[in-house]
């Protein structure tokens, strides 16, 4: 067991004029994660510490934070593996704060919904499941792992500078459905992403791919969408 100092960014809009940092010393043992350390702080030292979490197994995307200068999920960040005596925990950068480590995800989900993140079917539903070949399913392997933690969204300079830009997460989801062989949206989904607030605001900086805790590549999806728009509009292709 070793004592690790957690340097946590705090902010309560009802009381504080500006955010500040507070240090908490936590005895870390075994495979304790940053999220578990935050629980420890909340239970034993300061019950007012606010943070968001749910699944504790890196599939819900609730606990994405900026930990020691990197975008990480608090629940999959093993404190001992970081190998440092001091861990800085901050909310995701460049997003509006609600309190402490919690930020306002309203805009993020409005943009997510804008791209119609569901399978669109126009033909009659078959009696059995809609089949896919292994090759068709393979195309979904990367985008389907997105857990909507918004690390990419928070890391994107195009999001920082254009508040109406859909952002990498929503566009990756658009890619996920556009590339799906079962999707019959045709051009129905296109107006949401084929514009200056959509894929063309992406300047291929690739911060999103660096930030993604699931090691996905939103840039690749966005570039596919750009190419798809050209193929559809100029060459009359379906995708």
């Amino acid at each position: 067991m070793s004592d690790i100092t957690f340097h946590v960014k705090r902010f309560d809009p009802a009381v504080d004029k500006a955010p500040y940092y507070q240090d908490f010393v936590v005895p870390v043992e075994g495979s304790m994660t940053v999220l578990e350390a935050l629980f420890d702080i909340q239970e034993k030292q300061d019950g007012s510490l606010a943070f968001r979490y749910c699944c504790r197994s890196s599939i819900c995307g609730s606990c994405a934070m900026y930990i020691n200068g990197r975008y990480r999920l608090a629940c999959q960040t093993n404190v001992a593996h970081m190998g440092v005596p001091r861990v800085t925990v901050e909310p995701l950068p460049h997003v509006p704060l609600v309190r402490d480590l919690v930020w306002d995800m309203e805009d993020f989900f409005v943009k997510y919904e804008a791209i119609k993140p569901w399978l669109i079917r126009n033909s009659a539903l078959p009696d059995t499941e809609i089949t896919q070949s292994p090759a068709e399913r393979l195309k979904l392997n990367m985008p389907i792992d997105c857990i909507l933690c918004a690390a990419c969204y928070s890391s994107c300079p195009s999001v920082w500078t254009e508040e109406n830009y859909l952002g990498p997460a929503a566009l990756l989801k658009a890619y996920r459905f556009e590339v799906d062989s079962r999707d019959e949206a045709g051009r129905e989904r296109m107006p949401s992403w084929d514009n200056e607030r959509g894929v063309y605001r992406c300047h291929t900086i690739a911060n999103c791919s660096e930030a993604c805790p699931k090691e996905l590549n939103p840039t690749e999806g966005i570039q596919w969408l750009k190419g798809s728009a050209v193929r559809r509009r100029l060459l009359g292709r379906k995708k």
Binding site: K9, F11, P13, A18, P19, Y66, G69, E90, P91, L92, P93, H94, V95, P96, L97, D104, S154, S155, P157, W160, E163, H203, T204, I205, A206, N207, E210, A211, N217, T219, E220, Q223, W224, K226, G227
Partner: protein, 127 residues
């Protein structure tokens, strides 16, 4: 984000340190330099209206070491902007998206080698 939100948002720590970020920033800066240079270039050429001798006198100024150095920096900006532009175009065509850092360093080697040739020519005029 509202102005109030921007004040409290975790902005300072958000400057991501990825290579793509700096490649993009430098791309924008070199682009602005080239646009600025375009106006200088148009102004210089427009001095030719005064006559051939006047223009030649102006051109003589460009042998000054400081201006030769600036010219070399202009070549560096052109090389960076052009070659990083090639990388961006390749990414837009879906080539090398996952290898974009390797592609970046590859085009930078080409840029550095080309700049070295120009520097070889320019250095005697600077020193």
């Amino acid at each position: 984000m509202s102005a109030k939100d921007r004040e409290t948002a975790n902005v300072g720590s958000g400057l991501w340190k990825g290579l793509g970020m700096w490649a993009w920033l430098l791309f924008r800066i070199s682009g602005l330099i080239l646009v600025g240079y375009l106006f200088v270039h148009v102004w210089v050429i427009s001095q030719g209206r005064a006559g051939v001798d006047e223009l030649n006198d102006l051109f003589d100024l460009f042998h000054h070491p400081v201006l030769v150095f600036f010219e070399l920096m202009l070549v560096a900006a052109v090389l960076y902007h052009a070659l990083n532009g090639v990388r961006i175009v390749l990414m837009d065509l879906g080539v090398g998206i996952r290898q974009h850092k390797t592609v970046f360093w590859a085009v930078m080697v080409v840029a550095a080698a080309t700049l070295a040739v120009f520097a070889w020519q320019a250095l005697p005029s600077i020193f």
